[in-house]
């Protein structure tokens, strides 16, 4: 079946078969390997993308199911050399170790901060609860994002 998905503002049309996942199509057919393939069970969050406005696990979405929809992947957050504030916060805070989980964290955190620029620590934890870091680098990730929230709160005061 021929499907069309708008990814990061660009229309992509591809042929898909059966229950092939959105993740697979993004990585293998659309040359967008930022979303990572790890558990394929919806338990690790490394494949997180935004589908029609909602963070989802792209490994759990059939590509045919995403036909006609709008998707934002991790590739869609930086504007050339200008990073999303969440990306800068993770860089500054050392919230990246091996980097494999980072795209999922960026997507989940960016969606939180774009809606709520000053989340509490509990709100950050809840938004990221579906993202697993096998390096267990959670402390630096959370601290970096808490600092971003604090900066946002200070700037608005």
């Amino acid at each position: 079946m021929r499907i069309t998905i708008t990814v990061n503002g660009v229309d992509h049309s591809v042929d898909v078969r059966g229950p092939e996942s959105l993740l697979h199509v993004l990585r293998e057919e659309m040359a967008l390997p930022g979303s990572k393939n790890a558990c394929e069970q919806g338990e690790c969050g490394s494949c997180s993308v935004v589908l029609d406005g909602d963070v989802v696990c792209s490994c759990l979405v059939m590509a045919v199911d995403a036909n006609g929809s709008t998707v934002r992947t991790v590739e869609g957050y930086a504007d050339h050399d200008v990073l999303h504030p969440v990306q800068t916060a993770l860089l500054d805070g050392g919230g990246v170790q091996c980097g494999f989980c980072t795209p999922g964290f960026v997507v989940a955190a960016a969606e939180l901060f774009d809606v709520n620029p000053t989340p509490t620590s509990d709100e950050i934890r809840e938004a990221l609860a579906g993202n697993v870091c096998r390096c267990t680098g959670y402390g630096a990730i959370l601290r970096g994002l808490e600092e971003l929230a604090a900066r946002n709160a200070g700037g608005g005061a």
Partner: protein, 268 residues
């Protein structure tokens, strides 16, 4: 044939060949299945209503806050945006988080099929792990949940290995109603979510004081049949079922009195 809505169970089951249906039918563009509204004194939750919808719904917060409390514990943000309550009871895994709340609320499952429709009480819905009374060619249009009379108080208490994407090791739902009526159900502690009528009878007409709770806890081992799996041993589950029931009873009673922690506050 299998029905596809959120797909958070179906897609990985298909990929791992745990199910091999001849046909997968996506119902997301069928009209009328996304309703979340009040009809005849009950909340109607359509087949396409996600757990994120339930968490965000003012109607759920007002009339069925314990169902919202349970919905907020399902998976993670990314799962809740896709996973539906109806899909959860159709997948019917023993740890299904909607099961205990729907059991104590005595929900009705509205099934449609080529032969017409039928309405199944949730208590008759679950047959075993991943097994329900749904027949081939049928689908669940919606679930209706009666709005309980006031004063009411309820609690959903869930145990898991970590806060985040993890299936429940055990769960308890308690509903406290006028005239001393108590309803109790357990999840992940038997082949299906189960009501506990003997436990309810021991509590009937009583306050959740030490004596009543002790009488109730004595009956828990006969109400459940936990197993050992990768998430917990049966002994741990059995012990924690009592701890969780005690907390849920206290929580429901204090909430019924208009006090206690807000719905959604973790107590485990």
């Amino acid at each position: 044939m299998r029905i596809l809505a959120g797909g958070t169970d179906l897609v990985p089951w298909l990929r791992d060949d745990l199910i091999t249906p001849d046909l997968v039918v996506d119902i997301k563009r069928l009209p009328g299945l996304g309703d979340l509204d009040v009809v005849d004194g009950a909340l109607r939750i359509g087949a396409l209503v996600t757990f994120a919808d339930l968490v965000a719904s003012p109607l759920i917060a007002k009339f069925l806050p314990m169902l919202g409390e349970a919905a907020g514990t399902v998976g993670s943000v990314g799962i809740r945006h896709r996973a539906t309550l109806v899909g959860n009871i159709c997948s019917a895994v023993p740890s299904c988080d909607s099961g205990p709340p729907l059991l104590v609320h005595e929900a009705m499952v509205h099934v449609i099929g080529s032969e017409g429709g039928r309405v199944v009480p949730i208590r008759e819905w679950f047959l075993g792990p991943k097994q329900t009374v749904l027949d081939r060619g049928e689908l669940v249009a919606h679930v209706t949940v009666p709005i309980p009379p006031v004063p009411r108080g309820a609690a959903f208490v869930r145990l898991s290995r970590y806060a985040g994407e993890d299936l429940a090791q055990a769960s308890v739902a308690v509903l406290s109603l006028p005239e001393g009526e108590w309803r109790v159900a357990f999840g992940a502690l038997a082949p299906t979510p189960v009501r506990a009528p003997a436990v309810e009878a021991a509590l009937s007409g009583r306050q959740a004081n030490d004596g009543a709770i002790a009488d109730a806890l004595r009956l828990v081992p006969d109400a459940i049949a936990p197993i050992t799996d990768m998430r917990a041993s049966k002994e741990y589950r059995m012990a924690m079922a009592g701890v969780m029931l005690r907390r849920a009873l206290h929580l429901a009673e204090t909430r019924r009195a208009g006090a206690g922690p807000a719905y959604g506050t973790a107590v485990m």
